[in-house]
């Protein structure tokens, strides 16, 4: 079953910082939900095709025609932090 360590790993994958007590209660919650979900294992689905799209649509395209872009000003108005027409983020070290 899901452990606190799993939960911390998932939290990291999800980029959510979890306090210790939060991780504990989440582990319990998820354990309950996952136990409930176990019921799907009762079904034999070996020969069943998965459904990704409920509508039988395919080949939906857009023509290669240019549409107007937003102005830098409009985009920057939305930015939580900006500099020189760009979004500013903490230094990324590689």
């Amino acid at each position: 079953m899901i452990t606190k360590k799993d939960v911390q790993y998932i939290a990291h994958l999800s980029r959510i910082h979890l306090a210790e007590n939060e991780a504990e209660s989440l582990t319990k919650n998820l354990e309950g939900i996952l136990t409930y979900i176990e019921k799907l294992k009762k079904l034999d689905v070996a020969d069943v095709k998965p459904t990704s799209h409920v509508l039988p649509l395919e080949n939906v395209f857009r023509e290669d025609v240019v549409r107007e872009s937003l102005s830098q000003n409009d985009v920057m108005n939305m930015a939580v932090e900006k500099n020189k027409g760009s979004f500013k983020v903490p230094q990324v070290i590689e």
């Binding site: 939906v60 857009r62 760009s86 230094q91």
Partner: protein, 478 residues
């Protein structure tokens, strides 16, 4: 000392040259001001949805066919989930288990031999934005103009056996893609990017060794140098009984070394799943057949044909096909002036030199077939000298004028009239008594020097053949 075999696989990202981005109508152009080529869709704003650019699929199919791949009749997109500031949705729309093309190969000339390098797959995906480090403000800046640029990622099999082979593979791939006209394949602009996987194994071993992934390769030369460095590094490790660590390493161009990425190595857990916002695509066999029919002649086929049809040497043919436009120009010229060897020499020699000197591509030179042929004909019939012809070409590229006009305007027509040359010959003979003596004593080759002197005095306008004859007659009385 043990011997190792080098095993290399390359992942090439190619930016397609469609008019618009892959999932929105923003223009697909390079070099604009930051964040001026974005819209709610490529910015990944909440609520927006992707709609697939028809032209990208078309080009994906063409790339697959050019690489001798099977084209999947069922194609879908998947989400590749990871966090990075240049990825506005925190997932990249890519293709996971049903790529557009798979199981192909690219024939590459290696040491004069053709070798087929396997192509595992080619898939379509969206490009990320650009993250620029700004040391002044001690922060990074994100520009999303590039976000959503259509990419085709071409993954090779681990069939490449040396850094030089990797270089040759890339050269062939680039040329092929230029013939297809799907990308401008400019590594400087980032429209072609390459990551390399490299490992060593004991000669004869079946199992692969542990590989390192090398990134930040900004030129074909960098790919080769980085791989050479890796061969040395991994060999040293293995020789001393150490292990190669599976990791991503960055090429440091200044120091000419690869370095382990300092950031902690994430377990790659991309949580791929089918993109629910895009429906699947079916590729009809008819569409594939039509695309195959419409493929251009590829470089290797063309060079073979040039050798067979025009009697060019392998070397000449190979030089010509390195540029799709020049090779086409070559054939256009031949239609009007059936002198393949001469035309080839003019294209591979003088024309290429001039283009290089001017740092322009052939199309930018706007050179017409008629002008070019009539120049060569003027040289061939002796109207202008070979040397003067090169000057005329230079002026043609600057002014786009008819070579005949240039020749008469500049008075470059070759002087073949012996009377007009008589004085110059006399002058040259009297100025160089020692050389004349040597010639008389039997060193006939020295006559070349006197021809040169005479040509200089006529500013290259004299017909060197005539000069040669006249000098011989005068000195040796023949």
């Amino acid at each position: 000392m043990k011997n190792y075999e080098t095993v290399i696989g390359l992942e090439v990202h190619l930016q397609l040259n469609t008019k618009t981005k892959i999932f929105c109508g923003c223009a697909n152009t390079f070099g604009q001001n930051a964040n001026t080529l974005t819209c709610p869709i490529c910015l990944g704003l909440p609520g927006t949805l992707p709609v697939f650019n028809k032209e990208v699929l078309k080009n994906g199919i063409r790339v697959g066919l050019a690489l001798n791949c099977k084209i999947n009749s069922f194609v879908k997109f998947d989400r590749k989930n990871y966090y990075y500031p240049d990825l506005p949705k925190a997932y990249q729309i890519s293709q996971y288990d049903f790529p557009i093309a798979k199981d192909g190969y690219l024939p590459v000339q290696i040491d004069g031999q053709l070798k087929n390098i396997g192509i595992t797959r080619a898939h379509m995906e969206e490009d990320a934005g650009k993250l620029i480090h700004d040391s002044e403000i001690k922060a990074s800046l994100v520009d999303y103009n590039r976000t959503g640029t259509p990419l085709v990622e071409i993954v090779s099999e681990p069939d490449i056996r040396s850094p030089q082979e990797a270089y040759d593979y890339l050269t062939s791939l680039k040329l092929l893609m230029q013939y297809l006209d799907v990308s401008d394949c400019d590594m400087e602009k980032g429209s072609l990017r390459c990551d390399a996987n490299i490992s060593l194994r004991k000669e004869g071993a079946k199992e692969f060794g542990t590989k390192a992934e090398v990134k930040n390769l900004n030129s074909f030369k960098a790919v080769k140098s980085a791989l050479e460095f890796e061969v040395g590094r991994q060999k040293k490790l293995l020789d001393s009984g150490e292990r190669v660590v599976q990791e991503t390493r960055l090429w440091d161009e200044a120091k000419q070394i690869t370095l382990s990425m300092r950031s902690k190595e994430e377990a790659h857990d991309y949580r791929y799943f089918p993109e629910p916002d895009l429906v699947p695509f079916t590729v009809d066999q008819k569409v594939i057949d039509a695309a195959r029919k419409a493929l251009p002649e590829f470089p290797l086929a063309k060079s073979g044909r040039f050798i067979k049809e025009y009697g060019l040497s392998e070397y000449d043919a190979d030089v010509l096909i390195q540029d799709k436009n020049l090779s086409q120009f070559f054939e256009d010229c031949i239609v009007n002036y059936n002198e393949p060897k001469k035309i080839c020499n003019w294209i591979s020699g003088a024309l290429k030199q001039e283009l290089n000197a001017k740092k322009i591509n052939f199309p930018e030179a706007k050179l017409s077939v008629d002008h070019f042929i009539s120049l060569i004909q003027k040289v061939d019939d002796g109207t202008v000298s070979n040397l003067a012809g090169k000057d005329v070409l230079k002026i043609m590229l600057d002014t786009h004028k008819d070579p005949n006009a240039i020749i008469s305007n500049k008075g470059l027509a070759q002087v073949s009239d012996e009377g007009a040359l008589e004085n110059i010959i006399a002058e040259v003979v009297s100025e160089n008594p020692q050389i004349v003596e040597q010639i008389k004593l039997g060193k006939e080759s020295a006559i070349g020097f006197l021809v040169g002197q005479s040509m200089r005095k006529t500013q290259g306008k004299a017909n060197p053949k005539i000069i040669n004859q006249m000098l011989k007659r005068r000195i040796l009385d023949v």
